[in-house]
């Protein structure tokens, strides 16, 4: 919680985000946000919302509004700001489905990951286990810290609501509450942080049966706010958020398929010998 006490929000950041939740008559016809970006919007929205909760001030309120928009954008694929600016990041990205690894590498992604538009990550992995088992394992959010390295714990509070704690730099910690907003058995789980929680974030995971097992597609979304909290979030995600989530999913797969996560940490080498002497 050390982090959450002295953040500031960059007013230009807040202004640059459209505020509030808006009704959309036909969401499907108005998808103008890229796939990866949608995911990031969700998380960023969550991060921002968490910030807002912590600071019950005018700035916090603005952040909460921005958070709402981000999560809306992530969930629906429609961004009012993009619409206003005539930006469409959804076009030409049909190939990204299930191949977030490749899609993440482009300079376009780097541009999108920076600045104010939030961070989206989409990654996929195929797990050689029955879909019901894979779904159940993820659905129990308390399992997530076993393979998501930046998470310290997830505690189930009440039906559909969970408390998340992530590690920050230098022993700091970020916490937020999230609730499940979408849950179809063996198909999809979606969650987002509660309105007004310190961190505005959202995510979803889709499950599909394939000839090679269960394909798992994860979207995560967040928007790094300015100030210390923002840098904490950036630190959590690393320079390449896609890479980190890819590693998380690799551990997820290993855990389900083999019951453990491969490691060499703690094994001997000539280096340990030297440091001992």
């Amino acid at each position: 919680m050390a982090v959450a006490t002295e953040q500031r929000i960059d007013p230009t950041l807040v202004r640059s985000q459209p505020f509030g939740w808006h009704e959309s008559e036909d969401i499907n016809s108005q998808v103008n946000v890229g796939r990866i970006e949608r995911w990031m919007s969700l998380i960023a929205g969550g991060v921002l919302a968490a910030y807002a909760i912590k600071r019950r001030t005018a700035g916090g309120g603005m952040a909460a509004l921005a958070a709402g928009e981000l999560m809306y954008r992530g969930a629906t694929g429609h961004c009012h700001l993009y619409q206003a600016l005539g930006v469409n990041h959804a076009e030409g990205h049909a190939f990204e489905r299930g191949t977030g690894v490749i899609a993440d590498r482009g300079s376009d992604t780097r541009r999108r990951l920076g600045g104010r538009r939030g961070i989206h990550v989409e990654e996929s992995v195929t797990v050689n286990r029955p879909i019901a088992e894979v779904y159940r394992f993820w659905r129990d959010f308390e399992n997530l810290p076993r393979f998501m390295r930046h998470l310290e714990s997830v505690a189930i509070r009440e039906e559909g609501v969970s408390h998340w704690a992530a590690k920050g730099p230098a022993g700091t910690r970020v916490e937020w509450d999230a609730r499940i907003i979408n849950d179809v058995e063996n198909k999809v789980i979606g969650w987002q942080s509660l309105d007004g929680s310190t961190v505005a974030t959202a995510g979803s995971v889709n499950f599909a049966e394939t000839s090679h097992g269960t394909a798992v597609r994860v979207h995560l979304q967040y928007n790094p706010p300015a100030g210390k909290l923002g840098s904490t979030i950036a630190w959590l995600l690393g320079e390449e958020p896609g890479l980190q989530i890819r590693e998380d999913l690799r551990r997820f797969k290993a855990l389900l398929e083999t019951g453990e996560i491969p490691t060499t940490e703690g094994q001997p080498s000539g280096r340990t010998a030297r440091t001992r002497r």
């Binding site: 097992g213 590693e247 797969k253 290993a254 398929e257 453990e260 491969p262 001997p268 080498s269 010998a273």
Partner: protein, 389 residues
């Protein structure tokens, strides 16, 4: 414990390091009774494989006695005598369950590194660079063996270490190379390289029904060992390999060609010097004269099978020849686990005694000297076995 550590190119040292411990439930610790230096260790020694770090423990051909098992291992007990396959395989992923053990999806903790170079990562390997998992190897007194419930293979007390040790790598590697030639009986096979893998490829080709094997090398004692295995031989320093192979096959070319040399081929021809120059200037990483010759010499519609290790990029591969002759190219790290039961049977029945390949048996302390001797093919060196205890 004592362990052979890679320090830098052309420099290995025996160091005193901490003993290994169980890190995961499916681990076991093996007290090593015999461990070998592999030809592919020379690629590390010569600095051809990236992502080695000073202090890395080498070795991927080892066997011994189980001294400790993790909570997830129920099929092994203290005291079991086992050989350990060089690819680390989980036994549960799509690839392991399809007998593609060296393509295991879960065993490389540094898969992201390998993906950068190869698109996807293969299995983690013992003692074979961080890109391949960064696992401590078996040229040591003890080793930690992950997924011990699927990897280590119990061997009968009636067989000596030297008879079963090579089941960890070079015997199955030579065998898979021959199996990849799609033998149905009566074929003529050419084998480039009469090192240990080449020797096992020769003998495996006969086991699988080949009528003739023509072995190619430059080192007299290796050619002699090939003759002992039933092969005809060519000396690539003095023979025109392509013309001689044509002569020996009635103008047809061999039915299948095995490149048991890999990325550090030697040769006297222009293409060798071309490769040498390119690798020295970092414009290519691998030298491939054996592969080129194999592709050119193979009969139309034949198979080129590659057990020799390649790590990076090769220039001037005659893909046009391969394409227009309709060749099949087969390669890859060996799916050791797949071959163990049948190869152990061959040994038990007396079809083959793999100990023929051993020329040097030494203690672990001799490792630095033996790496040099083996690399320089001095002193008749073909296979080195080390006894760590």
């Amino acid at each position: 414990m004592k362990a052979v550590c890679w320090e830098r190119t052309h420099h290995v040292a025996v160091e005193d390091v901490p003993d290994p411990s169980i890190l995961n439930p499916r681990d076991a610790i093996v007290r090593i009774t015999s461990t070998a230096i592999c030809g592919s260790d020379l690629h590390l020694y010569d600095g051809f494989i990236p992502t080695m770090q000073a202090g890395d423990i080498l070795g991927h051909e080892f066997m011994g006695e189980v001294v400790e098992v993790g909570t997830g291992v129920s099929n092994l007990q203290k005291g079991d005598r086992v050989i350990v396959p060089f690819p680390i395989a989980c036994g549960r992923c799509f690839f392991c369950t399809h007998d593609l053990w060296s393509c295991c999806d879960n065993s490389n903790p540094n898969a992201a590194l390998a993906e950068k170079l190869y698109g996807f990562s293969g299995a983690g390997l013992f003692g074979y660079s961080h890109m391949m998992g960064g696992y401590a190897g078996g040229q040591a007194q003890y080793a930690r063996v992950p997924y011990a419930d699927v990897g280590p293979f119990k061997v009968p007390a009636t067989l000596t270490d030297e008879q079963v040790l090579f089941l960890t790598d070079i015997f199955p590697t030579g065998y898979m190379a021959a199996e990849n030639c799609d033998l149905t009986g009566g074929e003529t096979i050419a084998v480039w390289g009469c090192g240990p893998v080449g020797q096992f490829a020769i003998r495996s080709a006969f086991l699988l029904g080949a009528k003739r094997v023509i072995a190619i090398d430059t080192v007299p004692e290796r050619l002699q060992m090939a003759v002992d295995g039933g092969a005809e031989t060519l000396d690539s320093l003095h023979d025109d390999v392509f013309e001689r192979l044509k002569d020996l096959t009635g103008g047809l070319g061999p039915d299948a060609c095995i490149d048991a040399v890999g990325m550090e081929a030697h040769g006297a021809k222009a293409d060798y010097w071309y490769d040498k120059a390119k690798t020295m200037t970092f414009m290519a990483t691998d030298r491939a004269s054996a592969l080129r010759q194999a592709i050119n010499s193979c009969r139309k519609g034949g198979v080129v099978s590659v057990p020799g290790v390649y790590g990076g990029f090769v220039d001037k591969v005659p893909l046009g020849a391969a394409f227009n002759k309709g060749l099949k190219l087969r390669m890859g790290q060996t799916h050791v686990h797949k071959y163990l039961p049948r190869l152990l049977q061959h040994i038990e029945k007396g079809d083959i005694d793999p100990s023929f390949v051993v020329t040097h048996t030494v203690s672990l302390d001799s490792a630095p000297e033996m790496y040099r001797t083996f690399r320089d093919k001095k002193d008749g060196c073909i296979k080195v076995v080390m006894k760590p205890h």
